[in-house]
Symmetry: C2
Subunit: 582 residues, 2 copies
């Protein structure tokens, strides 16, 4: 059996090595258009920033090492330009001319291409997809730094990063690390689109605190020789910002050229449509990794059966993440070798570090659920990563999205300095195991004061979810507060007078009424007859207050996430709007 794999990174190379481990006899040919295979593409921004100093560290394998260990026939500089699925051949352009290579099975793993905005001068913008790209970026940084050596910081080297997604943030951080003044331009009205705005604003503020000029609701109109012209979403001119270096990181698009030449059907979102075993619509042609669709584990409605083609297409999604790419590679090898069939649908879990702040997400965001028109329950908490009495406790913002009909976990997000990735991983695992939101309260998580709390942040999410599920607590979201007050509710701050004085929830400029939790029983007559929204700092005392007032006969809801989430929400609204260049 001769298997030809197009693309020698992540999914493609996982498939190749897994095939070899499964079959010493198979002929395995890997055709890679670039000069490198099996490199650490997620490390590229950190090499640009000097964190990973040694470029060689990025090159995990070479064609030689793969030949020695896995007897793989790896050919770099081999660009596959055509497929003949009837003849089972591919046409390959090499430095020595064009050759035709036959196959029994063809695995397409070309990945995704960075999208660049279609504006004048954009050819100067760099992207960050492969080793050649990072070499180019390092050269540009070095050049910009050398040119501006000795200048005052205000006149030092500059960069514009287009796109504030995961890669854009990593690039921005690393350019700052190299001493560049960075403008981060994002067309959406928030950074880090996979998160909801009241979560992402913490990342926004962290970027600003580290000197990044963050421009949301802003697009690039033109790339000029030493600057970039910005515009608002309606293309009104916003002036220019200096840019010795320009990096485009607005996203990626599946590289479907070859698959289309093979006649493979594409999915609704532009990826190569594959079934649960990574077969394309063309016999003996498989697609894996970022180019291929994933089954969406969280698609609305029931998950379609494996033989329901229309259902599968409708639940196909794109999730260009390394862990799913590797999973694809292993799975396709097992299927080709006849070892396995069937595949777990994908949730999508991701993390990014930005100047010591960590932001992570799994599953659906609130805005996506809203765009899908799906009912959802929202929980915000602000727990410390470990016991509050142990030194170094710092709060994180944590958010859980729940299906109110089934109590299923639909998604989670977290932003904080420590312990963020752990909680998201636990919740992602809970989703994979089919645990409900309320089930989170019973998880047995490792506890000692330096590692967590006897009631871990994830347990606490479960407690809140269970209280909401059982109807024991009702909550109102930060963005629903104005409407509640307009409808006649009184907002009550149950924190201490000191906390209240340091700043509190305001609606239309009117601060909430201070009525401390420990005085509620004595003073609750002061709010008699009014619908009550209680709030505290994070939602926990608010819950106790809501239970207490309910027990005393009041109609009461708790402001979810308390003062902190409300403040984040208001701040998120404040940073949405476009900033005119001074």
């Amino acid at each position: 059996m001769k298997i030809v794999i197009v693309g020698g990174v992540a999914a493609g190379m996982s498939a190749a090595t897994r095939l070899r481990r499964g079959s010493e006899d198979a002929q395995i040919v890997v055709l890679e258009a670039g000069d490198h295979v099996s490199y650490a593409n997620c490390g590229l921004p950190y090499h640009a920033g000097g964190v990973i100093e040694d470029r060689e560290a990025l090159l995990l394998q070479t064609p030689e090492s793969l030949a020695a260990r896995f007897r793989l026939d790896v050919r770099v500089g081999h660009r596959v330009v055509d497929v003949d699925p009837d003849a089972r051949t591919v046409t390959v352009e090499t430095a020595d001319g064009t050759v035709v290579e036959s196959y029994d099975e063809l695995v397409l793993s070309p990945g995704a291409r960075p999208v660049v905005p279609p504006v004048p001068g954009v050819e100067r913008a760099l992207v960050l997809r492969d080793v050649a790209d990072v070499d180019r970026l390092v050269r540009e940084i070095d050049r910009a730094t050398a040119d501006d050596a000795g200048d005052a910081p205000a006149d030092g080297p500059t960069a514009v990063v287009i796109g504030a997604g995961f890669v854009g943030l990593e690039v921005a951080e690393n350019l700052v690390r190299r001493g560049l003044r960075v403008t981060l331009v994002e067309l959406a009205d928030q950074v880090l689109a996979p998160l909801d705005p009241e979560m992402a604003v913490r990342v926004h503020d962290e970027l600003v605190a580290h000197g990044v000029d963050v421009r949301t609701s802003t697009q690039v109109a033109e790339v000029l020789p030493a600057s970039v012209r910005l515009a608002d979403p309606e293309s009104r001119d916003l002036g220019t910002v200096p840019a010795d270096v320009v990096v485009a990181a607005i996203g990626v698009r599946p590289d479907t050229t070859l698959a289309e030449r093979a006649g493979a059907a594409l999915g609704p979102r532009g990826g190569v449509l594959v079934d649960d075993d990574l077969r394309t619509s063309v016999a003996h042609v498989w697609a894996v990794g970022d180019v291929a669709t994933k089954r969406d584990a969280l698609a609305p409605g029931t998950i379609p059966a494996a033989d329901d083609a229309a259902g599968l297409a409708s639940s196909a999604t794109l999730i260009p993440l390394a862990n799913l790419a590797n999973r694809h590679g292993r799975h396709v090898a097992d299927v080709i070798l006849g070892r396995r069939t069937g595949h777990r649908p994908a949730i999508g879990t991701a993390v990014v570090g930005v100047f010591g702040l960590t932001a992570a997400t799994t599953g659906r965001s609130e805005k996506r659920l809203r765009a899908e028109g799906r009912a959802h329950r929202v929980i915000h908490t602000h727990p410390a990563q470990h016991a509050g009495y142990y030194p170094g406790a710092t709060p994180m913002a944590l958010k859980l999205l729940v299906d109110p009909a089934t109590d299923a976990i639909l998604g989670a997000q977290a932003v904080g300095r420590d312990g963020v990735d752990k909680r998201i991983d636990v919740i992602a695992t809970a989703v994979a195991g089919g645990l409900t939101a309320s089930d989170l309260m019973d998880l047995e998580l490792a506890y000692a004061p330096a590692y967590g709390s006897a009631k871990d942040p994830v347990n606490m999410l479960g407690y809140v979810a269970d209280n909401l599920r059982a109807g024991e607590t009702r909550s109102v979201q930060w963005h629903e507060l104005d409407a509640a007050v307009a409808a006649g509710a009184v907002v009550v701050d149950v924190r201490t007078p000191d906390e209240h004085a340091r700043g509190t929830v305001e609606v239309g400029g009117v601060p909430s009424l201070a009525l401390p939790l420990d005085e509620l029983r004595a003073r609750h007559h002061e709010i008699a007859g009014r619908r009550v929204v209680v709030h505290c700092q994070v939602g926990q005392r608010g819950h106790t207050a809501a239970r207490l007032l309910t027990g005393l006969g009041h109609d009461v809801v708790n402001l979810d996430g308390g003062n902190l989430t409300w403040r984040d929400g208001v701040r998120a609204q404040a940073v949405r709007s476009v900033t005119t260049v001074a």
Copy 2:
């Protein structure tokens, strides 16, 4: 309704506050024998060590604060000495005499008592259960330090810690932090009994590296005024070690005095037997927290039905952990209020930090499975906590126990410097969600180079489990190697010659045969006709070698965990034996 709760920490106080949030009308009385309620008992060792400087930080609530917020009637210095379940009264000793208190429902949450070894002089040994204990310990440390001020380090203050479990290790670390020379005495042949020896030995060596004199297979024969006399397990005298301070931390025993006076049945392991809703065998008497049994989620055979009294008793176990205690407290409140029924069985997850090393465990250990006579599959890996090319990558030791018949996860252990608690939490969550060992390979865990790997350590465990499940790989454990060689196998080191030269697996003093992976295809005839055990450093190249050699027709098994696990195993055997005092 009048609810009397005996014991105002963890489970008891969780029950009290949950009851109040559920019912503004209930009369809730908390009777606590000690002077404090709701204190951070897991923080006590760290207060002794000066990590948590402020003693007040340990006191999370006071009777006054609980009265103000939760309208709880909390009475400290109230020792309940008797129960009359027919009259539904308890007898309480107070400073002002004995009183009788009636109840509708009685919740017993007295916790567990530290066990002290029954040896002469043991009354000088301190324990660490409550705030009064830590005050005493701090005074003793201060006294010892002051007495020995100015002495040479060798003559400085000294301590003996009896018991090398979780608390013993925390105490030892904190005494070292305070400048004491510590001897850690453990009757078992390893530290940290919940872990298997080849995992725990890393903790042992970390203790030794920080100056702790670790004595396994050693007991305390007598506590003398300034020293402790040691003996081997057969009570042969081992001489004395200096001990200005002596702390006993050999374990805890459920404080069942009251429950027994009430006539409540005890479980097979000495805890108060409770059903899934925390009812004891006596009407209107409930037991929660460390005093009560837990349903064992991993008991051999099928989990008994909730109405199968004999089955429940046989699967009852004791797990004195704070997270389960809090869970009990919340659950009993919900049951008493008629809100809920049924309870998730317990797995048992725990973590301890020792001088910057973290050791964590969930579920069953290998030795416990062996003691139960249960079939089990063992997997050792040594992954880094994040991408190897990203700075700061350090390996951990990771172990997974699997039911070979069902692929169910039975337990996991991890020891390392970073990312250990995360992986154990993920695996504990997988167990709760009923995921199999092979399912771990598909978990979508947050990946960026600073946080994990595209194939996370947990995914890798899943890969290995899947390979073993499918019969694609066979492995041999470190302790099975001698027998394999005795039966004629040849041990082959597939690492590089350099790695081999730096130290390799030896059986009976004979080092393994160096045959590097990348030369195997050319040289495999050198081992023709022999059964082969391959090994590498951690098991991964060994797997590739095993697949390759199998493909070439050899009978081959892979040494699980490679050279590192073998070395840990041999080292664990070396430290088992008793050390005679010099």
